[in-house]
Subunit: 234 residues, 2 copies
DNA sequence: TACATTATTATGTCTATACATAAAAACACA
DNA sequence: TGTGTTTTTATGTATAGACATAATAATGTA
């Protein structure tokens, strides 16, 4: 039976362990053998087994506690990973042509909800932008963005007619913290016009806020053309 | 300077390296020193440096290639992680009471779009369910689900009046593959009624399809009450 | 019996070393 | 000059052994 002739790589061990979990050889909530025991079974070392189990734990299959041991999670709290792509890349990878256009650019006093969200002084001036991203000349995304020029002084002179603010920011400065959220909203007249939709259409929207350490950098609202679908497989 | 007196843990090394990336000490697209060199600088070993760099690469900051070396990614293709929670947990963790109710349960011939999506024989019979999930007695999620009873024979006798199909499936059998997608849809009359919304309201919707190896298991469409927002921070 | 202390143990991490492997660079040859 | 082969090198992974640490179990004391 299952005696493992050759010594196995941590990948092999991961595979075997995952199989046993999925086939319920090790039932949910049950305890696995210790690393030492597994190392012996797989004629490997604890270091290698450790890596296998550690990764499986990171992937949400196992829970590990010192002394208590390694336990199979009952509700495999699986994590979906979404890349946070640049629109340009998202469009190009879908095999379409990318085109960008600036709609509006002006300095405004930050509305109070924005100051609150970013934690900036009320009424602080920020750069307000609206832009469009096209895929094969069809509207793909309508972007509304606020940039805290105090945190990004160079933004005042950047030429957002030729490069999208997302892209510009990414290459201009790094960010350390990011909040993303997704909602369904309703197209108002303006959004509908830009996205070639009808007023009232359901619109998939992403909001992103980024900080550089404690400094607020930017807040963006991205409205996708009707029919947009965000998908991931795992 | 920056000489590191004590020997550092892989966590310390990660922190320092990440700082240097974010402060552009190592610019985007540039090459990092080799593991051996870094190990020397941090008065550590290659094994430890390797783990630090490997994890940073997994987190999307670095790109590593044998012989070519370790490179700072220009567009830090950062990955947002969303947990895929059970509704029950999602509601309870928000501090609300959870209540579940079964709306419909019947065997039907799979519609053709479903057969195509799952890769099952056309017209194959599947279990069709509609259910409601409440948070503090307010509608939270309206669930429409199809279960391939051929793959999950025990589903035919399960009592979905007392337990939600998602929860039941999770404890009944594991899954190996999962596809999740998110869209904005429009509430039709039925959805509006269930979610206490108005017809035409924008509705955030999740679709999940799961397989056990190559066997299709279930497909679910989850409609969230208006105002739902999916958020993650990183 | 209740509570504080100590021992035990499984995981967490580091070290030093070795060999494997992919890919770039150097080289040889036609 | 172009092409196929060899060398070099940085990362990838495995091993054996050590100490650290958190959490449980066992023990001793009031």
């Amino acid at each position: 039976m299952a005696t493992t002739r050759e010594n196995m790589s941590f990948r092999d061990i991961k595979r075997v362990v995952l199989e046993r979990i999925q086939k319920r050889v090790w039932a949910p909530d049950s305890l696995l053998p210790s690393e030492v025991e597994l190392a012996e079974e797989f004629s490997s070392t604890r270091t290698t087994v450790n890596r296998a189990l550690r990764e499986l734990a990171e992937e949400g299959y196992l829970e590990r506690k010192r002394k208590a041991g390694t336990r199979v999670l009952n509700a495999p709290l699986r994590k979906a990973q979404f890349n946070i792509p640049q629109v340009r890349n998202e469009i190009i990878e879908a095999g379409n042509d990318y085109r960008y256009a600036l709609v509006t650019s002006q300095m405004i006093a930050a509305p109070s909800w924005l100051s609150a969200k970013l934690g900036t002084a009320p009424e602080q001036y920020v750069l307000y932008l609206e832009c469009m991203h096209f895929a094969d000349n069809a509207p793909f995304q309508y972007e509304v963005r606020w940039i805290v020029t105090d945190s990004v002084p160079t933004a005042a002179e950047a030429d957002f007619a030729t490069i999208g603010p997302g892209e510009w920011l990414a290459q201009e400065l790094p960010f350390t913290d990011l909040e993303v959220s997704f909602t369904a909203t309703q197209a108002d007249q303006r959004i509908a016009d830009f996205l070639d939709a009808r007023e009232g259409d359901p619109i998939f929207s992403t909001q992103r806020t980024t900080w550089l350490r404690t400094q607020p950098v930017t807040h963006a609202r991205l409205y996708f053309a009707p029919g947009y679908k965000m998908t991931t497989r795992l």
